[in-house]
């Protein structure tokens, strides 16, 4: 099943997004079009939303610190909205009492895989087999992040020494980089996936455009470093010194010196946030020009 199809299956049946804003004034500016179009979703009858049609989501915990899951939960009532209306959590060691990885629409994988731990290896393979869409949630799953620095010898499993980003073992569909990935980034991916399935043609195109860079990151590879802004931005003649990379870095490895990023490479934990945040890594005018409408639509979707 293609990712678009899977996402459709995933979000099937969620008709009441934006219900709170039903009597909203129709927009008159191009940027607001997306809000106006939501009306067509709202009009669909609510009875068509049997609980069985909720998508199934699992949180697969590899070698990560649970910070990604906590970040997802930091959407507070937004998380409840997602679990209440859109998704059944079918697997989550922290929150659901299920031992074996079941079939599911979306697997959110946190953490890298220790290849000396045969259970972890089996589970990531099982995850790929059982999930239609695999999302690498957070920097360890995407790029290894701090687990890149592991070299074994610790108690009580000294032989656990080699940790790989999940993309080195299985195909991954979507990356959400960052350490931890931000609650708002996780939320935005959820809402965009929803619009991709349930929206009208225009919304689908928009959501596809929104998610494309995160799918492209998943295709681009499993290595990240502050060096990426040197190799792929400055060396390519694209840096204009905005400072977004420095703001995004969770360990303050980047300072701006004479208008350009200066990377303290020993501090870098390989999370990939700087490059993904840079407006000159990827930038879609189709998406960003509609920022007002998109932000309103996301707020509406998160209404309980």
């Amino acid at each position: 099943m293609g990712i678009l199809e899977s996402l459709k299956a995933l979000l099937f049946g969620k008709h009441d997004v934006g219900g709170e804003k039903q009597d909203q004034k129709p927009a008159d500016k191009p940027a607001d079009v997306i809000v106006e179009k939501k009306a067509s979703i709202i009009k669909e009858p609510k009875e068509e939303k049997p609980v069985a049609d909720k998508i199934t989501v699992g949180h697969v915990h590899m070698s990560g610190c649970t910070g990604c899951l906590v970040s997802f939960a930091d959407n507070y009532e937004g998380l409840l909205t997602i679990l209440d209306k859109y998704a059944d959590l079918v697997y989550c060691l922290t929150l659901a009492d299920v031992r074996h990885i079941p079939e599911m629409d979306v697997a959110l994988v946190e953490g890298s895989v220790c290849i000396q731990d045969h259970i972890a290896v089996e589970e990531i393979i099982e995850t790929r087999k059982n999930a239609k869409i695999v999302v690498a949630l957070g920097a360890c799953a995407c790029y290894g992040n701090i687990t890149r620095f592991c070299r074994g010898g610790q108690q009580n499993q000294p032989q656990h020494e080699s940790y790989l980003p999940i993309g080195d073992l299985i195909d991954v569909d979507v990356y959400i980089p960052g350490c931890a990935p931000t609650p708002q980034q996780i939320r935005n991916v959820c809402v965009m996936a929803y619009l991709l399935l349930k929206g009208n043609d225009e919304q689908k195109a928009l959501a596809g455009a929104y998610l494309t860079p995160m799918m492209n990151l998943a295709k681009a590879g499993t290595e990240a470093c502050g060096c990426d802004v040197m190799y792929n931005v400055i060396n390519q003649g694209l840096c204009m010194g905005c400072g977004s990379c420095a703001a995004a870095c969770p360990v303050r490895a980047i300072t701006m010196q004479y208008g350009k990023p200066q990377i303290e490479r020993d501090l870098c934990i390989k999370c990939g946030a700087c490059y993904a945040q840079c407006p000159r890594s990827f930038f879609s005018f189709d998406v960003v020009n509609q920022y007002e409408g998109i932000m309103e639509a996301i707020d509406a979707a998160m209404q309980p």
């Binding site: 931890a180 010194g241 905005c242 870095c249």
Partner: protein, 288 residues
């Protein structure tokens, strides 16, 4: 479309003589922030303050009128204002953030709100983003060479730098004025500016620049719903004197002309990066 979406365009200047005394043009940026601070719309703003080297900007968080006024005027060098966008909500503790920036910084800001990969809890705190028009920017060393080598003027004696009427202007503290043809400035431009496809900060809430209006006045585009609301309140509070944009010379015609020139030239450069630098390869294109 080269001017982006906007709800209205006007010629304007601040009604505050204190602000106008050292503002670059009509004092729009400083007046907007000063009003918004007063009215409780923002808790402070990220501005390009003065560092300890002359005309080298330094991103700063201004939380008082004095700090806003100290940052007046254009510094034609890179001020990475986005580098403070998370910190401003953390150690500075601002919940309602103002930020001024060039068109590329407005792009960075909106991307950061839609894709907050490393910007936790920032997106909802942006209360007022003011964009300034921008044709190009310069590394600090470029400004130094332009002023000191080409202009034969010590940078520490300079009171104002300006680009306008086809010239690079150097005004000194003692009243002398040096002008350089823009031609000599081009080679010092920041390379990243050559792929830039926005002249008038299309993604700001309100954007402003000198082009289009007489000296001492500014061209203002009111763009977003938020910008519209704040502009209306600022006008009601008497913060600005305005004139219809059609009533001033050279007006939007010149803005459109310059915007079209910039975008066409840079689009061509992006095309050239695919074909003219390489054999069987392409330089990277950030726009997807």
């Amino acid at each position: 479309m080269v001017l982006g979406n906007y709800k209205q365009a006007v010629a304007a200047r601040s009604t505050d003589p204190d602000i106008l005394r050292k503002s670059q043009d009509g004092g729009i940026v400083t007046q907007l922030f000063a009003y918004a601070l007063d009215a409780g719309i923002i808790d402070g703003a990220i501005v390009a303050g003065q560092s300890d080297e002359p005309f080298k900007p330094e991103p700063m968080v201004a939380t008082t009128r004095e700090e806003l006024l100290a940052a007046r005027g254009t510094r034609y060098s890179i001020s990475p204002n986005m580098s403070l966008i998370k910190e401003v909500t953390r150690s500075y503790g601002l919940d309602k953030v103002g930020v001024v920036g060039t068109p590329c910084q407005m792009q960075a800001l909106r991307k950061g709100q839609l894709y907050p990969v490393g910007l936790r809890d920032v997106a909802d705190k942006i209360a007022l983003a003011v964009g300034i028009f921008c044709m190009e920017n310069f590394p600090y060393q470029g400004i130094l060479q332009l002023v000191e080598d080409h202009g034969a003027t010590a940078l520490e004696n300079v009171s104002k730098l300006d680009i306008g009427k086809g010239k690079f202007w150097i005004y000194t503290e003692r009243g002398a004025t040096v002008q350089l043809p823009l031609k000599v400035t081009h080679k010092y431009e920041q390379p990243g500016c050559h792929v830039c496809l926005d002249y008038v900060a299309n993604l700001a809430d309100i954007s402003t620049g000198s082009v289009g209006t007489p000296d001492g006045w500014s061209t203002v585009f009111v763009r977003s719903a938020k910008g519209d609301d704040i502009w209306a309140k600022a006008i009601a509070a008497g913060a600005f004197e305005t004139k219809p944009i059609d009533s001033v010379k050279p007006g939007l015609e010149l803005v459109t002309k310059l915007a079209t020139e910039k975008i066409t030239k840079n689009q061509q450069f992006i095309e050239d990066r695919k074909t003219k630098f390489t054999v069987g390869k392409e330089l990277r294109n950030p726009y997807i």
